[in-house]
Subunit: 289 residues, 2 copies
């Protein structure tokens, strides 16, 4: 291998059911600007949150294979809480590269933040029904109470991220959740945002939680973990120079390629809110769904 | 054909992307209790409202073929505004039985109700972007102003059909719509509910519209039209006795068979609200999506 080849930027694949996972991509790019990224949103088949494990596993494996086999991803981040909760095994079986979901990093960040050991988790219906966060928290000695908040994703997609109706919906959900926690004798001091859409509601959520409660963003936690794992993976597999922090960043046009299985217009229109910069041209792919 | 065969109850297939179309099925059963019904909700691939015409046409054709080829439907009602707006031609090409969508009956009911000739339509994003209601209204000499209300379906599915948040969301949407109509010099006196979920919000919507405005439910309008067309079709094709109003109704267990492509539990749990009686056992079918 020559010097030029060793400087090819490493490639990270990021997968979500829609474009909410762009909040994870944003956090990854902030931490690893030297890498190239391929993102796929399975917009033809979203939302995963209301579908069965069997269906989600099939869809997620197809997306993972697209990123690895067709886009050359050397490392996968599953930026979808539902797929991380229900299909991580299926994805790991479907590809031969390392795969990181959002559940474990979120639970680990909760462990680091919580003093009482009691945490609250808000997420989609399917993520909650999987009890993946509760299991990941329990494995770390935490008690977790999870609640589905099905209206928050549509409110974000409507653009009502700073709206009195959204503030009221958040207030209602959090009041129900904290009442349930108190009834179970819990003393929660940490709230995990278990859905990639929720970081856009963080200011409203921060304003609604009881005083002193820490809010954990799974997207940020996942990006931090990904940086550690990916750097280690690169050092083992490739040239150290690929992750050289002094290496020139790829040009912005080359750095991120976005794919969607449907509705690229909606992706381009709404995605920039999540990515915090334009998504560029989103390419349509057909996974046979 | 012998006398026994002629008394086989006629079979009507009803298709929706989810279970919202059960409001249309309920209206059909009320008008034609002698018929048998097969309903399919394409729950694995909902919501159609955010998908492209190409994808919707493919999905809808598969569902229509299932109802006709595997369930023996002799007449199809497309109880999905989005599919009626974007895929009626594709469905008619895919099967050989008569097909009725919800757009034309809704527009016809608006024509009958409106005195000013100006009507408002609320629907999903895809239905609005298709401008199918505007076209159907224009063909009848009406002016229509359409607006997408993406939060209403999730609010219904959350069960908040009599909730102050939902009342506020409806107030906001209708204020925006009536302001736009006034700015265009319109004098609307009729509001069309262009989504099968919206009948469950009818009391809140009736309370929010300006005094004197008529609210048209596309589900009711479609069932009325279906009864006329189907009776005529039966009289032409089969024995008059099949639609004999004195014929014994099929037993409740036999009358309705419900199918879904995913999440039958959610269908069974929420569907009874739309059908106004239990859905019974919902059967899972795989259409290969």
């Amino acid at each position: 291998m020559n010097g030029t080849a060793s400087k090819t930027p490493p490639s990270i694949g990021v997968f979500d059911s829609g474009f909410g996972g762009l909040t994870v991509l944003r956090a990854l790019v902030a931490r690893m600007p030297q890498a190239r990224y391929a993102f796929i949103g399975d917009t033809a088949r979203l939302p995963y949150g209301s579908k069965s494990r069997r269906t989600i596993a099939r869809y997620a494996a197809q997306c993972a294979q697209f990123l690895v086999n067709e886009q050359g991803a050397e490392f996968l981040v599953i930026a979808c809480n539902t797929a991380s909760a229900l299909a991580l095994d299926a994805i790991q079986d479907a590809v031969s590269v390392p795969v990181l979901g959002v559940i474990e990093p979120g639970a680990e960040a909760a462990r680091a933040a919580s003093r009482t050991g009691d945490v609250l988790v808000i997420a989609t219906d399917a993520t909650v029904q999987s009890h993946a966060y509760a299991a990941a928290c329990q494995a770390r000695g935490l008690r977790a109470l999870e609640m589905a908040c099905p209206l928050l994703v549509p409110l974000v997609e409507e653009g009502w991220t700073d709206h009195s109706v959204t503030a009221e919906v958040i207030r209602i959900y959090l009041a129900e959740l904290t009442t349930k926690a108190a009834a179970q004798g819990m003393n929660p001091d940490t709230l995990v945002l278990g859905c990639t859409h929720y970081p856009l509601l963080r200011p409203l959520i921060e304003a609604a939680v009881p005083a002193g409660m820490r809010v954990i963003d799974s997207a940020e936690a996942t990006a931090s973990t990904a940086m550690k794992l990916f750097t280690q993976h690169e050092l083992e597999k490739h040239s150290p120079s690929a992750m050289d922090p002094n290496a020139q960043d790829p040009s912005k046009q080359d750095q991120i390629r976005c794919f969607a299985t449907d509705s690229v217009e909606k992706f381009e229109r709404l995605g920039s809110r999540f990515l915090n910069r334009p998504t560029g041209k989103v390419e349509l792919v057909d996974l046979g769904g």
